[in-house]
């Protein structure tokens, strides 16, 4: 459903992502982990077609993001870091705008808006201006936007950041509900929510993939569970690169 092939990106001579490759099947929810600056957001932005890779390709449901970007993007939903939205719009206007951009007909749009409004639990704020919404509601509006066209692949950069515990649980439940029909990539800094949402984990460091396994397998690596295993992986890699 989603395949990253030798994806690379540099900024001003600094390598952000180096030859990243992995694939994701329907039903897989991938926890995409790494320290700040490891290259998670850059990888996700390339996978969503937001920025172009220097080398490599991303295949979304059989369509190349490099040679057939729009077809690939029609099958992909993206929640960028910080869930940027248009502050002057209402959530309803915003979702209608996304319907237009995805070429969803007016009648289909109405039912799509109803579906994502219920899924993201934003019915109460649909006619309020986005600039007046709390961070949690904004993120849920962003999530609703990523789901409006019922994509095959979802890429969510920090989807639960800024949500209260109840909202986090609701988002996790939503992701679990959608998981069987989609391939989902989630980046998060909250490691304890990984086992609850994800059935696969990839850890990256300095733009390179350093681990790929299930959350359970990764947690078994160290006594302290997933968090200790993650710290262990990243610090070992850092020590190795410092020695090198």
């Amino acid at each position: 459903m989603l395949e990253l092939k030798q994806l690379s990106k540099s900024f001003g001579g600094r390598t952000a992502v180096a030859s990243m490759s992995f694939s994701l099947n329907k039903g897989e929810v991938l926890g995409f982990l790494g320290q700040n600056g490891a290259g998670k957001s850059t990888t996700m932005r390339m996978a969503a077609g937001v920025i172009e890779p220097d080398r490599g390709d991303v295949i979304v449901a059989g369509h190349s993001i490099v040679s057939n970007r729009r077809e690939a993007q029609r099958r992909l939903g993206f929640l960028p870091e910080g869930a940027p939205l248009y502050p002057d719009m209402t959530p309803l206007d915003f979702l209608n705008f996304l319907c237009s951009a995805h070429r969803i007909s007016r009648s289909d749009c109405r039912s799509a808006v109803e579906r994502v409004t219920a899924d993201a639990r934003i019915a109460d704020v649909m006619s309020k201006r986005i600039s007046t919404l709390s961070k949690g509601f904004r993120r849920r509006v962003g999530l609703a936007g990523a789901l409006i066209h019922d994509p095959d692949v979802l890429i969510l950069d920090e989807p639960t950041d800024g949500l209260d515990p109840i909202q986090k649980r609701a988002v996790r439940a939503l992701i679990s509900r959608m998981a069987k029909d989609k391939a989902i990539v989630i980046s998060t800094h909250t490691l304890e929510e990984v086992p609850a949402m994800c059935n696969r984990v990839i850890v990256i460091d300095q733009g390179k993939l350093i681990a790929d396994s299930s959350p359970e397998e990764m947690a078994k690596r160290r006594k302290g569970g997933l968090e200790e295993a993650f710290i262990d992986l990243v610090s070992k890699k850092e020590a190795a690169s410092n020695e090198g």
Binding site: R45, V50, F97, S100, A101, H102
Partner: protein, 254 residues
């Protein structure tokens, strides 16, 4: 080809409606229209001494259009892309299956619609000259049409400049600077100075790039094909640059 055209139209429609709504969801469009109408009135009635000319035509009104557009239209276009970059909504936009040319055209047309509304709301001037005498309404219509095209040219410059900055202020300043070059190139004082220094041919050549040159012809009531082609050409050229600059952001963004 058909799919590409459909993508352009879809993107245009989505972008146009969003931007138009954005203009009227905030005080921006209302403030712009109000200040534009007020200044057009002040310059026409006071600076050009409309009633002292003793003529029932709109020359004193149209005379100021290029200069007012040069100052005001970059204020209308400065937010078009700068806000997308500042609020990171460009991330969202670039993740959508849209045509960048369609998006850029939609944004430009939305700003142009606000400018057109401002121009339409100057109709009391036209009523006034018709009340006072018997002006050549055909010539007035031609000048209005050319003024609208010229507004599109100024906005296309401002929109393109907006795609280079994340700050509205910088986009505004850059928009005014480029617009000034395209305006002042036809200013008689500057053309005279260039002619004196480099010869009449050089002065004429520089003047050919100016909005003033083509707008002055229209003010005489002459609808020239080359003026129409010039303004349409300028709009398309800046729209293309705008699209290329936005595409470069996707290619090289950090």
């Amino acid at each position: 080809m058909k799919a590409e055209l459909r993508d352009i139209l879809t993107s245009f429609r989505a972008s146009y409606l969003r931007e138009l709504r954005a203009y009227f969801a905030t005080p921006l469009a209302y403030v712009f229209v109000a200040i534009f109408l007020m200044l057009v009135g002040v310059f026409t009635w006071e600076a050009s001494r409309f009633f002292d000319t003793g003529l029932a035509d709109l020359q004193p009104f149209f005379y100021w259009h290029p200069w007012l557009y040069m100052i005001f239209l970059p204020a209308l276009s400065m937010r078009l892309w700068a806000d997308e970059i500042a609020y990171s909504t460009s991330e969202l936009l670039f993740s959508l299956p849209v045509s960048l040319f369609g998006l850029a055209t939609g944004k430009l047309l939305a700003a142009w619609s606000v400018a057109a509304l401002s121009l339409v709301l100057t109709f009391p001037m036209w009523i006034t000259v018709n009340y006072l005498g018997a002006p050549d309404n055909g010539a007035i219509a031609i000048t209005y049409l050319t003024s609208l095209l010229m507004a599109g040219a100024y906005l296309s410059i401002g929109a393109a400049m907006s795609s280079l900055f994340s700050s509205q202020v910088l986009a505004y300043i850059a928009g005014i600077l480029v617009a000034f070059v395209f305006t002042a190139a036809g200013w008689p004082m500057l053309v005279g100075a260039i002619s004196g220094l480099l010869g009449a041919a050089a002065g004429d050549l520089v003047a050919q790039f100016s909005f003033l040159t083509y707008f002055e012809t229209a003010q005489r009531g002459v609808l020239e094909l080359r003026a129409l082609l010039y303004f349409v050409g300028v709009i398309l050229a800046w729209l293309s640059l705008n699209t290329i600059w936005v595409a470069n952001k996707r290619a090289f963004a950090g």
